[in-house]
Symmetry: C2
Subunit: 209 residues, 2 copies
């Protein structure tokens, strides 16, 4: 297998943390998004959507999208279970991972990509060009703040994002918190449960990935 990574980007970091938790070490190719290497003809043949991460399987086929890659790693390396164990826990993990993506990470992507000076006409990842919308940057910031409150309510009653056990939903949410720091959105003072949880998950060795 071969892992197409970008060591500075949030999405492939989710996979790197997942691999570290599993103790899986893969041959890795760095794609420098800052230099636009994702738009090269060579990389378009790997992923026509011009995004990382991508996992190249031993049969030569390629899998993109973070959750799909992590699920494949989990299928081949079931322990420790990071997608949940029982059907009920698996459902909670899948639900929370989706909420972090849709309510948190996509809002943060809107906030960042619609305001970064280096991303004019690159408001969305992928091969097409889209202009930045300042209103979308502002809306994204507001949505991230709302999501921190939502997450705080969940973490008031739960050790981890999806319940009693550390899971891919914690990885996604920790990467969101660090990504939000890029544009100076910190954990608000009044969301104490997020602060407790973030301090906890950040101490895991995998957080350095």
């Amino acid at each position: 297998m071969k892992f197409y990574d970008c060591k500075t980007a949030p999405s492939p970091r989710r996979v790197r943390i997942f691999l570290a938790e599993k103790g899986v070490d893969l041959e890795t190719v760095q794609i420098d998004l800052g230099k636009g290497e994702q738009f090269s003809d060579e990389f378009r043949a790997v992923n026509p959507d011009c995004t990382v991460p991508v996992l190249e399987l031993d049969d030569g086929s390629r899998i993109s999208e973070v959750t799909a890659i992590c699920q494949y790693i989990e299928d081949l390396n079931p322990e420790p279970a990071l997608f949940g164990s029982s059907p009920e826990e698996r459902a909670r993990v899948s639900m929370w991972n989706a909420k972090v993506e849709q309510l948190g990470l996509s809002a943060m992507m809107d906030a960042f990509r619609n305001s970064a000076k280096g991303l004019v006409d690159r408001a969305l990842p992928g091969p097409e060009s889209y202009v930045q919308l300042p209103e979308l940057a502002e809306r994204g910031r507001r949505r991230v703040s709302h999501f921190f409150e939502r997450l705080n309510n969940q973490l008031a009653d739960n050790t981890y994002v999806a319940g009693d056990n550390y899971s891919i939903a914690d990885i996604s949410a920790m990467v969101l918190v660090d990504f939000a720091g890029w544009i100076k959105i910190g954990i608000p003072d009044d969301v104490e449960h997020v602060a407790r949880w973030y301090s906890d998950v950040s101490k895991r060795p995998s957080a350095a990935a």
Copy 2:
């Protein structure tokens, strides 16, 4: 189990089709999104994110998010497999389901919610209010067109969205095509493989769900 549905909405329709393919019949509660029933105190206790679908499990816990609900149904009713069988096929299904959601359905939601007369200040689902952005409606239409081309390339070489077998990715993509019809985005004339596939999947009895 109890299924919170809205018979007119695209997201819960994905679950209804999934249930029909599985031959699973659930006690169903209709939430009328047009009347704002998702914002009632009663429903907020079911899902604080004020969205359908929601599945209430026998232990009283609630699962929202389409893919999480469908995965739970699959775990309890493995046949026919709609998330793939081998790890490789499961990864392809998860990847394509994610691509349909992120590149197709979220673009379509932008196009619809930012232009519908009945959704002023409701540009996003959920408890908070967000103003409509006309540029986002226009961008969404453009993205849906691009996604139809992307899907066409995939279906040129594959019977179904994720390969040889019908899966949840086909359900998501078929619902996208029908949702796009709400704002008169039809399948473009030059994406013949999407047209062939759509004609095929639409004839399945589950498509009536």
